[in-house]
């Protein structure tokens, strides 16, 4: 008898407690997927760190040793005006880490999307809410520990025009408060609709052009402007410049 109860229990337990695992999958309709693929450019060249030499609008020669920026608060707008919001998505694109340039949007809803909006940086709420994790982990060196808040974007390199002995230029763009706010909302229309349906995979390729850091509205000379490390006006100038550095290059959808 005891043995029988035991076996019964075993069966009941396995079939109840573990049902989730053994459930047959519902008929195959794979959810759609959508990713953003960031490509870092310098004018018409793909960015090569360290070795390649470039020229900015002021005529200064420079190379790039570090290029990172946060992308957050992504909102995709459909043809009919309704939107899909990527809640709690914070991403750090780092030129040194190829994987970081591919951002997969979780649980994208079906629809025909025509434009995208995102923040270059980390919204003010996350700047004042204590210890964060994921892409916002202070370990990534994108958090100012002497003046709390995230560095929204970093560009570092060397230039013969730099007045520093090391010939470096260092741009750390931060500040989320009042007049020091450097957060930029970018809105980009797609060249063609992104039709997101089940089993489809959409890739939106977005280019960022480093040359834009140095031009419009302000032409930046590395000699006069070798560093921006403390927020304030230098950071505002550079962020006003880079606000228009993103363009959607292509929207491609494949169906499995």
């Amino acid at each position: 008898m005891k043995k029988f109860v035991g076996v019964l229990l075993l069966i009941v337990l396995f079939s109840m407690g573990c049902r989730k695992k053994d459930d047959p999958k519902p008929p195959v309709t794979n959810p759609p997927s959508l990713s953003l693929s960031f490509k870092n450019m310098v004018g018409s060249d793909t960015l090569t760190l360290e070795t390649a030499s470039y020229k900015n609008a002021h005529g200064d020669t420079f190379n790039v040793s570090m290029y990172k920026y946060y992308i957050s608060n992504i909102v995709l707008t459909k043809e009919d005006g309704t939107t899909f919001t990527d809640t709690n998505g914070y991403y750090l694109v780092d030129a040194e880490k190829p994987l970081s340039r591919e951002i997969k949007i979780n649980n994208i809803a079906s629809g025909s999307y025509t434009k995208i909006q995102f923040l270059v940086g980390v919204d003010s709420i996350r700047n004042v809410s204590g210890a964060q994790t994921g892409a916002l982990d202070p370990f990534y060196g994108m958090f100012w520990d002497w003046n709390s808040g995230y560095i929204m974007a970093k560009l570092e390199g060397t230039s013969p025009q730099s007045p520093n002995v090391s010939k470096q230029f260092v741009y750390h763009i931060g500040g989320f408060n009042g007049p020091d706010n450097v957060l930029k909302t970018v809105e980009l229309s797609f060249p063609n609709k992104a039709v997101v349906v089940s089993s489809s995979h959409t890739v939106i390729q977005i280019n960022s052009d480093i040359l834009e850091w140095f031009k419009t509205p302000s032409t930046v000379s590395i000699f006069n402007f070798p560093g921006a490390m403390n927020g304030g006006k230098p950071a505002r100038t550079l962020s006003d410049n880079y606000a228009d550095m993103f363009t959607v290059q292509s929207v491609t959808t494949t169906i499995e």
């Binding site: 005891k2 043995k3 109860v5 035991g6 076996v7 229990l9 075993l10 337990l13 396995f14 407690g17 573990c18 700047n127 004042v128 809410s129 204590g130 210890a131 964060q132 994790t133 982990d137 202070p138 370990f139 958090f143 520990d145 002497w146 003046n147 709390s148 808040g149 020091d180 403390n230 927020g231 304030g232």
Partner: protein
């Protein structure tokens, strides 16, 4: 017996993660008559296990590159968690900072941290000393590796968070639990205000309280003895030319402003001011009487200094002694477990 085994097996099969007991909650107590704290452990549930882990981390020298300096090196309990006998802090390889280690207590009521208010949240405060080259000069990647290799830490993290993953966020949140629990509210003054035993003030002390309210309380606001604003109290900038709040906000009107410090536990926290320039309270009162350095941002309340008669000074000093909280500096709960 057989049945029990079967049940255990069944349970085991459905719970691949070991079941960890829930951590024991702690209710944070606001002392009677005090305002609501700024930091209320939102998104950081206060527990016995979290507090104990935070304490262990606070006293662990492995948080420094050289494995020689802990938070507790510069913040010592017998000094109300300040660093006694140092005008400015001493970190790894005996590197010297530019500011005096402030005491740590009643931190949940601070609106910003550091003398210049550069840090906006208790949880992100430790990032600075950990990464600062003249303090602990370490990074989270290395610290996490050291803690993972320890026999005890993974278990402790699991007891707090349900699994043994160690992240900077978890380190910072438990440190905030320990620091947030450092409440000093058992001085003679507190007992007097709450009309408790041990709160009987002498005539001189009561006189001193009146003098304090007339001359000091506008900035050193009761019951925390700070309004946590930033002000210039007339210290002449030293050779370091530390511009305080101005360095953070880049506003000319913030030059040479520093956070108003609490006046609790002064007996244990000498030397005084952001650069530790005064070693006695007499020297502090001399400063307010005749040492005020006039500059564009000097607080208007101090433009004529604070002139007291010798008797008033004596009474004021007697009152300041009633703000020392011996129970706090001896509280076993805050002591390092060896």
């Amino acid at each position: 017996m057989y049945m029990m085994m079967v049940v255990a097996l069944g349970l085991y099969a459905c719970h691949p993660d070991p079941v960890v007991e829930a951590a024991k909650e702690i209710q944070f107590e606001i002392p009677k008559g005090w305002p609501q704290p700024v930091y209320q452990f939102e998104n950081n549930p206060l527990t016995v296990e979290g507090f104990e882990l935070g304490k262990k981390l606070f006293f662990d020298t492995r948080l420094s590159r050289t494995n020689t300096i802990s938070c507790g090196t510069c913040h010592q309990q017998f000094s109300a968690f300040a660093q006694i006998g140092h005008d400015v802090s001493h970190g790894v390889d005996d590197k010297i900072g530019i500011r005096n280690s402030p005491p740590l207590f009643n931190l949940n009521w601070h609106t910003r941290f550091f003398w210049d208010g550069g840090v906006n949240h208790l949880e992100v405060q430790p990032i600075n000393p950990i990464q600062n080259p003249v303090e602990m000069d370490e990074n989270f990647g290395n610290i996490i590796q050291k803690l993972k290799n320890d026999a005890d830490y993974p278990k402790r993290f699991a007891a707090v968070f349900g699994n043994d993953s160690i992240t900077s966020q978890r380190i910072l949140k438990t440190l905030a639990q320990f620091m947030g629990m450092l409440v000093s509210s058992h001085s003679k003054y507190d007992k007097y205000m709450r009309q408790e035993a041990g709160g009987e003030m002498t005539t001189a002390e009561l006189n001193g309280l009146q003098i304090f309210r007339n001359h000091c309380a506008a900035c050193h606001k009761e019951p925390l003895f700070s309004d946590f604003s930033f002000r210039n109290n007339g210290l002449k900038p030293s050779v370091v030319n530390d511009s305080g709040r101005g360095h953070v906000t880049l506003q000319p009107s913030d030059m040479y402003l520093f956070k108003v410090p609490s006046l609790r536990n002064l007996l244990y926290t000498s030397p005084y001011m952001h650069d530790g320039r005064f070693s006695t309270l007499e020297a502090v009162l001399n400063h307010y009487a005749t040492g005020i350095y006039s500059s564009a941002t000097l607080d208007p309340l101090l433009s004529n200094g604070i002139n007291l008669t010798p008797q008033e000074r004596k009474d004021l000093l007697a009152f300041l002694q009633t703000l020392n909280d011996e129970e706090f500096i001896r509280n076993k709960r805050f002591q390092e477990q060896r």
